[in-house]
């Protein structure tokens, strides 16, 4: 009989399909795990709604649960429950170490262009705050592009949502 802890451990082994340095559990997309009569229900809260990785994540979770000998039920929550604040401290550190600046904490109001254009964002390579916004958008919906004037290195900044 599979336990909830085993399911959490198994899900923590699944890498994010686009940024494989962090796991789905680090990313905070697993909201709840329930085990009942050999069936495992996972409440999955998607990141960006247009992210093509969502279906890959859902299928990977189902496969991982089947490998534990249980029947998966992945419940996709189309609500406001995922935020970049759900990325775990360990996940944030793994992102930074791989050259992705982790997202700034979420505030009550939506982020503004003035904030994005400020130099409050730290370069993940050298730690300098002498960085500037190059593009609000980046290679995937979750990232912006910035440039560090100190180490002259462009880098990807996680958007805060």
């Amino acid at each position: 009989m599979v336990t909830e802890a085993q399911v959490w451990d198994a899900l923590a082994e699944i890498p994010d399909p686009e940024i494989p340095v962090i796991s789905l559990v680090d990313l905070g997309v697993v909201r709840a795990v329930n085990v009942e009569d050999g069936q495992v229900r996972v409440d999955f809260t998607p990141t960006f709604l247009g992210c093509p990785a969502l279906e890959v994540m859902r299928d990977a979770m189902a496969d991982q649960i089947r490998a534990l000998g249980a029947e998966p039920q992945i419940n996709v929550c189309l609500d406001d429950s995922w935020s970049t604040d759900r990325i775990t401290p360990a996940g944030r550190e793994k992102l930074r170490a791989s050259g992705f600046a982790p997202p700034a904490p979420r505030e009550a109001a939506a982020p503004t262009l003035v904030q994005l254009q400020s130099n409050a964002h730290r370069c993940p390579y050298c730690g300098s705050t002498e960085t500037r916004l190059e593009n609000i958008f980046g290679p995937t919906p979750c990232r912006s592009l910035r440039y560090c004037a100190t180490c002259r290195q462009p880098f990807e900044q996680f958007k805060t949502i």
Binding site: D80, S81, W82, A110, P111, I136, F137, G138, P139, I161
Partner: protein, 191 residues
């Protein structure tokens, strides 16, 4: 969810789907590499939002998001004429982007107050993504607001924002392209 709410969600979903397709037409040919990236990303978000709204309606109607997105005929779409046009002019593209994001923000704000927690929750999530689209639109609006071509484009396109009763001839043409692959296979095909 009552019929009126379903119609409203379909209206929004159709706007986002069609605009997503039109925005994606800048992929590879935008005047600046940065904008190639930006419009491709915005298009991806809009189509994701369309899918989420279609899913809510599809559940009520016993169909699927893909069924709603691609199996209706062009005259059944409820999108505004503004999003239907194939615009390969940068001033017009930015004017449309600005007009659309302004109007969409008001609509999302209302949906966030919905009594239906699912609709309110989804609108809140989408609004947080749209905040970045609004920043982008505002940045370009500020840059171009004194350009006569841009001012003229705003004037020309503004009336199309609320024109939903009839479609332009560009919608059926887009529909042909958009549904071509899906129509090439029998209904129920697993992709």
């Amino acid at each position: 969810m009552n019929e009126l709410e379903q119609q409203l969600l379909l209206e929004i979903a159709d706007d986002e789907l069609i605009l997503g397709w039109r925005d994606s037409e800048w992929t590879g040919i935008a005047p600046l590499l940065e904008e190639d990236v930006a419009f491709s990303s915005i298009a991806q978000n809009e189509i994701g939002h369309a899918r989420a709204f279609y899913e809510l309606v599809a559940r009520e109607r016993g169909t699927t998001a893909d069924g709603l997105a691609f199996d209706r005929s062009p005259d059944e779409y409820r999108c505004a004429q503004l999003v239907e046009l194939r615009l390969l002019d940068w001033a017009q593209t930015i004017a449309r982007h600005y007009l659309y994001e302004e109007a969409d923000a008001i609509r999302l704000e209302r949906l966030k107050q919905s009594d239906d927690p699912e609709i309110a929750g989804l609108a809140a999530k989408i609004d947080r993504e749209e905040a970045y689209h609004r920043m982008h639109a505002q940045m370009w609006h500020d840059r171009l607001q004194d350009e006569p071509r841009y001012v003229a484009a705003l004037e020309e396109l503004r009336p199309l924002l609320n024109e939903r009763r009839e479609h332009t001839s560009e919608l059926p043409e887009l529909w042909e392209e958009m549904t071509m692959v899906r129509r090439s296979q029998p209904a129920g095909t697993k992709w």
